[in-house]
């Protein structure tokens, strides 16, 4: 008897061990399923796809959301295909279709493509499987699902590797109502994402979603705390929502509860904060635009000041010289495209056309200026009125030549590095194009100053300006100097045109339309021949124009036209007090 008891006892002591063994053997199979093994996870999304075949709409919709939550980026194209109705059932699997193929009888066929490999599905004999369009069993998709897919795609893109995509997705998730599924992921991104901007946007979106869906709020969070947080974040995106909440509470008929009053107060403070931030941002942007506009004006006015100051010639064709610079840039662009087409230079070098266009526009305009001087201007020194008329006529001729050659509207594309901008502070973006123009202007002004002050030819120019006869008597070839100076002034105008292509349209009459009057006014305001005056006046006019533009009086904003008119009136008033300009030549001449 005791041997059996012993035997049973030993078995009993083995049992837990046996259980453990069974358990251990069972665990690997489970972990194989839950281990983050790429193989199985990759297929998880595809497995979910199968549910799309269901007839019940809500199963399909849940499936879409689940697919989006997997974060599997290949699903992006799959969902897109589904949305446009390009998913079909073939041999009990879901496939998608490639480009429609038409045979000689104009029957349409769709070649089937495997979802995972994106290869064409082949028949037994190796030919692509073509199914007539009529015989396809399409995976049905209704309008509701299509809308849902739109939202789901944003959720999906939150997992993208590309920061641009993530940023856009984070923003969109905040806008779409009821995309509460995104909140979890947004919270994660707000903590972990390497890019600061994306963390900010994700946090903002999460807060916005919580505001619309109070059930999703974390503990300790109330509407008030969310609103206060949005306010401290200076979240411009939340402004419309906050305003609606405020309006709803103030307009509600019923007695307001204590909590509602708190929310109202929080809303108001938050709106104030955000408004203030927004106004600051806009102001800064306007000022920056004004500076870049002013830079172009300075370019133009500098050239004019030089020619007028030196030679007493009013050059109404200055605008046309700018136009020549702009068209030279265009011609460079065309040439680059032609060279790329012929295969002489690689496609990636296309953007470099802009670098080549810099000297090209300067030289083209300078050359035209040189010729002009040689032929016409030479006879017009010291006769401003005659030169005004003659150069106007030349301007007309130049415009006409360009118009006949190029037509009336020409598109100059900015190189890719000039698009986009850099964000220096929250919400304030400085566009690269405008920054480039400002830098170019600064460099050119510095260059001219150096030329005038430090080089021999600058010395000669200054001499000739001060006292032409004496310079002549000392052996300076004033005619050569004049030609050089005129060419220089024209070249600068060409650079203005070159810069302008980044921020405005290029037409044959752009010189007349936009700039000639402004540049003259700047020259007059700044004081003829004074570089410092021209710079101050140019910047001043540019900034004032751009800052007045969005200002409001009563109900209406000023807009570009009234801004221009006001600036004009201000200049006229200014001339009343200082007829010779900001930096007037000192002296007792009665003839200014």
């Amino acid at each position: 008897m005791s041997s059996i008891t012993h035997f049973l006892a030993s078995i009993r002591s083995f049992l837990p061990f046996l259980f453990m063994l069974a358990g251990v053997m069972a665990i690997p199979s489970q972990s194989r399923a839950s281990k983050p093994d790429s193989e199985s996870q990759r297929d998880e999304a595809f497995v979910l796809l199968d549910r799309l075949r269901s007839d019940a709409s809500n199963i399909r919709m849940n499936a879409i959301m689940d697919i989006a939550k997997t974060g599997d980026l290949r699903m992006e194209t799959v969902l897109e295909d589904y949305r446009i109705g390009n998913l079909y059932i073939y041999n009990d699997a879901i496939v998608t279709g490639g480009d429609i193929y038409e045979d000689d009888d104009l029957n349409k066929f769709v070649p089937l493509v495997d979802l995972r490999t994106r290869d064409g599905i082949l028949n037994q004999d190796g030919t692509p499987t073509l199914i007539p369009t009529g015989d396809l069993e399409q995976l049905s998709v209704t309008r509701r699902e299509r809308r849902l897919i739109g939202k789901a795609l944003y959720l999906l893109r939150l997992s993208s590797k590309d920061p641009e995509d993530r940023l856009a997705a984070a923003k969109k998730c905040g806008h779409t109502n009821n995309l509460v599924e995104a909140i979890g992921q947004l919270d994660e991104i707000a903590q972990d994402d390497p890019v600061k901007k994306i963390r900010y946007v994700a946090k903002e979106s999460a807060l916005l979603l919580r505001l619309s869906n109070p059930k999703e709020m974390k503990e300790q969070q109330t509407r008030v705390s969310v609103i206060v947080e949005l306010g401290t974040m200076n979240s411009i995106r939340s402004l419309p929502k906050l305003e609606t909440i405020e309006k709803a509470i103030t307009e509600s008929e019923s007695e307001k509860t204590g909590e509602e009053l708190e929310v109202l107060a929080a809303c108001r403070t938050a709106i104030e904060n955000i408004d203030r931030h927004q106004r600051f941002v806009r102001f800064f942007e306007n000022v920056y635009q004004g500076i870049s506009l002013g830079s172009v004006l300075i370019f133009m006015a500098l050239g004019l000041a030089i020619t007028f100051g030196l030679m007493g010639v009013i050059n109404m064709a200055h605008g046309e010289l700018m136009m020549i610079g702009a068209f030279a840039t265009y011609e460079m662009q065309l040439m680059a495209m032609r060279l790329i087409d012929k295969g002489i230079i690689p496609e990636s070098a296309y953007d470099w056309y802009y670098v080549a266009a810099l000297p090209a526009s300067f030289l083209a305009a300078a050359f035209v200026g040189y010729i002009l001087e040689l032929l016409v201007i030479r006879h017009l020194y010291r006769r401003p009125i005659e030169s005004l008329l003659a150069t106007w006529g030349i301007g007309l001729i130049l415009i006409q030549i360009v118009r006949v050659h190029y037509g009336d509207n020409v598109g100059v594309n900015a190189p890719s590095w000039a698009r986009g901008g850099v964000e220096i502070m929250q919400d304030i973006t400085l566009p690269y194009g405008r920054t480039f123009i400002i830098c170019l202007c600064a460099v050119s002004v510095a260059g001219i100053w150096l030329l005038m002050r430090k080089t021999r030819i600058g010395l000669l120019i200054r001499t000739t300006t001060q006292d032409r006869d004496m310079a002549n008597a000392l052996g300076v070839d004033t005619y050569r100097i004049d030609r050089f100076t005129f060419a220089l002034g024209s070249g600068i105008a060409g650079l203005a045109g070159y810069g302008w292509t980044l921020i405005g349209g290029v037409t044959p009459d752009m010189g007349q339309k936009n700039f000639i009057v402004d540049s003259f006014l700047i020259v007059v305001t700044g004081g003829v021949g004074e570089i410092a005056g021209v710079i101050c006046a140019g910047l001043g006019v540019g900034i004032m124009t751009k800052v007045i533009e969005p200002m409001e009086i009563g109900q209406t904003t000023f807009g570009a036209i009234w801004a221009k008119v006001i600036v004009l009136a201000l200049i006229v008033a200014f001339i009343q007090f200082k007829p010779a300009g900001l930096f007037a030549p000192k002296g007792r001449l009665s003839d200014v």
Partner: protein
Amino acid sequence: MLIGLLVFVIPILYILNVVTIETVNMWSRYMCYAIMAIGLDLLWGYTGILSLCQALFFSFGGYAMGMYLAHHGGPEGIVDANGWKFPACLYVVYPYKVGEAAADALVPWFWKPFYTMPITIILGLLIPGLVAYLIGFVGFRSRVRGVYFAILTQAITVAVWLIFCMNNMKLCGTNGLTRFDKCLGFSISDSQFKFVMYFITLLCLTGCYMFCRLVLKSRLGRILMAIRDDENSLRFLGYTTYKYKLFAFVLAAMLAGLGGMLYTPQMGILTPANMEADKSILVVIWVAVGGRGTLSGAILGALGVNLLYNFFTSQKDFLLFTWQPQYWQFVLGLLFVVVVLFVPGGLVDIRNTFSKRDKHLTS
């Protein structure tokens, strides 16, 4: 004067059916321009002030008459809330505010005075005059000189042009004033009317010419010429020159306004394009081509250049090339350059240009 003969020849040719009424109309319109040119010649050729805003004053006069014609023309039946008949061209482009119905639109207050002819004529002369007075006051008192003043006037032209182009100013924006039918009871497109207008314009032109001659012969005229020659000396002699300059400026503006008023019924449409900056410079070139410093030169230049324009823009082939109307710009530009460089005295003075005698001073 050759021109004097020509302008009488034209109507005779018309009566004899050698030329159409359109030609008569064309000459008449160019005579309106000539009136404007006389004003500028007085201002520039004799007083030495270059003004680049004559087309602006021309347009003011034109708009005045145009508003009168718009009141009385167009389809009947569009009436605003106050019972005023709505000018058709305004009705079409009326800038309604958000939420405003067509029934709420009112004829603007500044249109109303132009309902009667006498007031229109008075205002058509007064408004350019007033504006000129303001501009001149601002410009001449601060002794803005020559070229700066010219640029100032051009800037003002651009500003006003921008304003007139805007729709919310209720001046029919870029469409301009159109849909004229009747003037003082006569139909505008009637040949009789055009013929009569020709004579009226001729009369006005002669009148202006005589008037300016009178002014120039008087002491006032001498002072103006002295201002052109040497303003500083004149000031040191005790004359307040700016008053005289102001007078000349206002007179020139009024003449331009008169030209505009006569122009509108004959043209049938008036848009802000008539006051663009290049139109003002065109006036200067007419005077320069014709001969500044001589009134008949102004008329000659105005008529001559415009006839040239007409000729060149209606050619299909010229000198072996196929010609497009836009090529006129080439001719115009060349005209500018050539006249300024080689023929500063203008056509009237062309004898002197080719002679060996000392050229007499006109600049």
